[in-house]
Symmetry: C2
């Protein structure tokens, strides 16, 4: 804890200590019943909620995100802990399957029973932009705890006191019985040591492309490689068809600005690139964006992020192909929004516009015909989201969808990409560089799958089988002799 | 094809050509309905089966595995193609989920619909030891085709003619309509180019630890990293409790030898290390292994594998701590079995015994008390399987299971690890170095998950949704508003 509260980064020995405690705690946490783990998750949610009046002010002081947003974020954080408790109660996440012994076209088959089991201790990297929902008590931690994996969090330096407070509240809720199930370390070096620590079986990371890539490379280069689940960077293209611009220019422009500036543009799903038709309707849309973005001033999460935003915005603004619509003209601690405009024909020669700029910046790409947009969309880097604004029976909607599905993880229709609901059908991931591993999600009920591995028992006596794989009604959906069955209610 | 049939390895341009054809074919194959893809898989199985009398002799000439084994392997190959057709028919593999718009404790939620979609073209590396079931028409190819991904196979040099023949039969079954859905290349350099090719979205590999690690590292080091699913090496420990040795010494010894020598020990699940009690019963078990292994002669898959087996066996046999029970004394093309004995106390200082030796070699580790075995088992490298021989109410069974579950992917009870049934509840994977990624399986119905990524549609009009995500009965198990539902029958 020392490292979190001002006396410098965590020492190597503290990483060792947290990992040793996690390893020590792992068997009991993995063996705890689903009901037991669900109760602990709900206890953590209750404890965090009951301390809202302590947590929110500390987080606001450290992040400047404001009371309303942080109160909402705490609600989200507790909601996702409780959602994972429900996932445990239901039990389908185990993918339990029983194949009784029998004859097959391949010959006799032994009794085989499969389900998912916890990977062991995992590392979670807190994100700068969500001091609660993607940090110490966030979705990665919640899903890993639900899976039965102890978690060592690498706290983000942007909110050390929030991290320490949440850790303290969560540790108390875990109690002596599960001491070591949650650990915390701080400092860049501690993060590297964590990814390379022999005890750690997987890593969850939300952060920058450069930082994530460096850690992913280390995870892959270990003597025993481990899965690295990184959410890294995303441009989140929005495409407005001519018909949509014609019908809703002002609404779309205002909504786009709202999404791009929400939380000072410090969301992984911020729309960074919007394809807008040329002509009068597109101009009206642009003017609506400008009107909503002008004179808006923001305090960024950290000075470093503010610097980085200013540098990124300046680099794009000063290119000859770009026209400033709204320019950042603030100085000191505050920044203002940046809206730029370029022609679609100039995008190919200026790929820098495809890189994410973290902060309140969005680029309007003006186009004459949808046919000129499609090849550009095909070449976009992978993204968490892509958005289409189209009218009913708009012939452009379908063909845009076909192309955008290849380069994104979520397709938003007539809406905006910020605001990531936590639910069963949510997906938060996507082709590189949205994530380093497009096959998993970091938000929603199915994110628990990242921390589990399949295991099969062959001809095992009932005594060594987990409850969910025994004969008779076991209360979870499972596949028996190839047929998926629901528990009786 | 040139490279497969004697005119040298595939050139870079051939890799490009196969990848370009796969990319070209990908949209139509991904869009094909589940019923259509299932029909194609069944058509491939039928075609392979109808050519059994052509395939088996060619494979036998190239591998020396014998007609019976290869006929069985072809049955397995067709069985798994048909199993994946059933997986498609049923549709649960899509993990379809629909969350209708509504209010939640987090606020209003949009309409969200999620399912798994194909990754795009993938590369599959054929294995030396299964010219059919883990090669061109093998499980990786079958599962990827089922998922909707075109496949470019890197043919194994140990059976080029078998590979070319299977490719020809499968291509004819795919027909002009799906030309490019299956491609083939040959040569080590072509394999490297395939893993690094921008078109390739994932890799399936079955082979050596060194080769697999090198390719996994390349997959991770790509500008856009891709998932690499490697099955690499496995020691497959067998532990015989004192009670089991006392009750069934001869049966266990004979069975162990049979499993270790099956297919000349050229199985990834070959038991390489067997913990056997000291004393008379353990001696009887050892003698049964020796009796079954003595004077057995084998032709290995390739000369290189024969050399490597001889070198590996000699390196272990000549160590002072090891006692030869049965020694390889053959020369030339044939090899004979090797059975060695060491004391459990010598294992820690001689970790070389924990490395897989591919071929008919097994090491008997003699122990005095199960308590001396447990710490050794905890330190074992990850494996595909671990096996326990124990009696009913044997107090040692449970504690061995607890330890072995941490280091393996499948726990076999009173049996032997060779013989990997293809079914829903099978798992073929495990902690490093059994696989580079312990979270996936390479055998069984769930192996299809490797070639899919989640995708979510938000507020999308019905016309752009896949059939399985539309409202109304859609004929697949799916989760609607958090509740898992089965289709009506």
């Amino acid at each position: 804890m020392a490292g979190l509260t001002g006396t410098g980064p965590t020492h190597g020995s503290e990483v060792d200590r947290a990992c040793a405690a996690a390893a020590q705690a792992a068997p009991a946490w993995a063996r705890a019943s689903r009901a037991e783990r669900a109760a602990v998750l709900r206890g953590i949610a209750d404890a965090l909620e009951s301390r809202a009046s302590d947590i929110v002010p500390v987080a606001d002081r450290e992040t400047a995100l404001g009371e309303a947003r942080l109160t909402g974020e705490l609600t989200r954080t507790c909601y996702q802990l409780r959602l994972f408790a429900e996932v445990l109660d239901e039990g389908a996440y185990l993918e339990a399957a029983v194949d009784h012994a029998g004859d097959t076209a391949m010959g006799p088959r032994p009794d085989l029973r499969r389900m998912l089991v916890p990977l062991g201790p995992v590392a979670v990297f807190g994100a700068s932009n969500f001091p609660l929902a993607f940090s110490v008590p966030g979705g990665d931690t919640a899903s890993a705890l639900a899976a039965g994996c102890p978690v060592v969090v690498k706290a983000h330096p942007a909110h050390p006191d929030t991290s320490a407070l949440c850790f303290e509240i969560m540790s108390a809720a875990l109690g002596d019985r599960y001491a070591g199930v949650l650990g915390i370390v701080a400092g860049e070096q501690a993060g590297v040591e964590l990814v390379e620590h022999p005890v750690v079986r997987a890593v969850g990371f939300t952060g920058s492309l450069a930082g994530g890539r460096a850690l992913a490379d280390r995870a892959a280069a270990r003597p025993e490689p481990i899965p690295f689940y990184g959410e890294l960077g995303s441009i989140n293209a929005v495409v407005v068809t001519p018909a949509a611009a014609s019908a809703r220019a002002t609404d779309i422009g205002t909504g786009l600005a709202g999404s791009a500036l929400l939380g000072a543009g410090q969301f992984c799903t911020k729309p960074g690139l919007a394809f807008v038709p040329s002509g009068a309707e597109g101009d009206a849309l642009r003017d609506a964006v400008a009107a909503a973005a002008r004179d808006k001033s923001f305090t960024m999460l950290t000075e470093r992020i503010a610097h980085s935003y200013r540098d990124g915005a300046a680099a794009l603004r000063t290119l000859e192909v770009s026209t400033p619509v709204v320019a950042d003209d603030a100085s000191g601690d505050a920044v203002t929004a940046t809206v730029l405009e370029i022609d679609v024909a100039d995008l190919a020669a200026n790929e820098v516009f495809l890189d994410e700029v973290f902060g309140p910046l969005t680029v309007l790409v003006r186009y004459g015909a949808v046919d000129d947009v499609l090849p550009v969309l095909r070449g976009l880097p992978g993204a968490l989201t892509a958005t289409i604004h189209a009218e009913p029976d708009d012939p452009d909607g379908g063909r845009l969808a076909t192309v955008l599905q290849e380069v994104a993880g979520r397709l938003v229709w007539n809406g905006f990409p910020t605001g990531v609901a936590v639910s069963w059908a949510q997906h938060h991931g996507g082709p590189w560089p949205a994530t380093n591993n497009s096959v998993h999600t970091s938000v929603g009920a199915t994110s628990i799958r990242r921390w589990l591995r399949p295991f099969a028992w062959q001809n095992a006596p009932e005594a060594v089988l987990p409850d969910e794989l025994r004969d008779g009604p076991v209360g979870v959906p499972r596949r028996v002799d190839s047929v998926l069955r629901l528990p009786e209610r």
